[in-house]
């Protein structure tokens, strides 16, 4: 049983998703993200898929669900590190994660979030 580490960096939660997670670990991740978000009140979640070699329909749909859930909880989600082989497979499966914001890597993902967080803050003033 592997647990996905969730780390808080400033106003962002970073979850580094490991390769070969079983279904329960995937669902556990979803629960932990929601719980942590509620508890800490952060506005951004970054899911790092750099080491994930297979994304099937179960994980694919979960990523969509997590993004939607986070949005309802007032947070933005960015998914980074999707491998080329995974990207091509996902699209062929018919899951192109339309509702999800993506970036190439953690660095770009963080910059993307910081940019929108600034916009969010301006909106609140």
């Amino acid at each position: 049983m592997a647990r996905v580490p969730i780390v808080r960096v400033g106003a962002t939660l970073i979850a580094t998703v490991q390769d070969e997670l079983c279904d329960s670990d995937v669902m556990l991740l979803q629960e932990e993200l929601s719980a942590t978000l509620e508890r800490t009140g952060v506005h951004a979640v970054l899911l790092d898929l750099t080491t994930v070699q297979t994304v099937d329909s179960f994980l694919g749909r979960l990523l969509n669900d997590v993004a939607a859930e986070m949005r309802l909880l007032g947070a933005q989600t960015v998914i980074v590190g999707i491998q080329p082989a995974v990207a091509i497979t996902l699209v062929e499966l018919g899951l192109n994660l339309k509702g999800v914001t993506t970036a190439l890597d953690v660095d770009k993902g963080m910059r993307l979030l910081q940019h929108s967080l600034r916009v969010y803050d301006l909106g609140r003033m």
Binding site: P84, A87, V91, L104
Partner: protein, 163 residues
């Protein structure tokens, strides 16, 4: 003797695979035209195998260069039908998953009419008629401006300038 044979078979296979990759790279050159901007001229018909190779080559280049905008130029594609449109969309979606935005350029009025006639709405995909226009869009998106030099160098003097 058998071991030698299987070894050289393996080598041969590796060589063939390497040559295949070279052919793919030559057929679908992905060019970095600017920081963060890639151009992919497609010449000839786009069948499934070619589209898959093209997408693979493009994604690898996106990873290598960290580019965020891709200009796929279909000026050289003779027929744009439902299948070709689907291949282009698949490429767009895959590149998006890597954080890159894909523009389809070289869309002529004939192609536009065909797509509309086929009931194909490229939806959220940005298109432009020329690569140059696509580049303009890309610069604007990246917050880049191209300005003439302030020292007023005359265009006629260009061929006298040394690099």
């Amino acid at each position: 003797m058998v071991a030698e044979f299987t070894n050289s078979q393996g080598e041969l296979r590796g060589m063939i695979e390497e040559q295949r990759r070279t052919i793919v790279e030559l057929q679908t050159p992905v060019i970095q035209v600017w920081d963060s901007i890639l151009a992919l001229p497609v010449v000839g018909s786009l069948d499934t195998a070619r589209a898959q190779d093209m997408t693979e080559a493009l994604l690898e280049k996106i990873v290598q260069t960290g580019s965020e905008i891709v200009l796929v130029d279909i000026t050289g594609v003779p027929v744009v039908d439902t299948a070709v449109a689907k291949h282009l969309l698949d490429t767009v979606y895959a590149a998006r998953l890597l954080g890159a935005e894909v523009l389809i350029v070289g869309v002529t009025s004939r192609v536009a009419m065909t797509l509309v006639h086929l009931g194909l709405d490229l939806g959220s995909v940005t298109t432009r008629t020329t690569l140059a226009k696509g580049l303009q869009f890309a610069f604007a998106r990246l917050g880049i401006e191209v300005l003439p030099r302030s020292n007023g160098t005359s265009p006629h003097a260009l061929n006298k300038l040394t690099t």
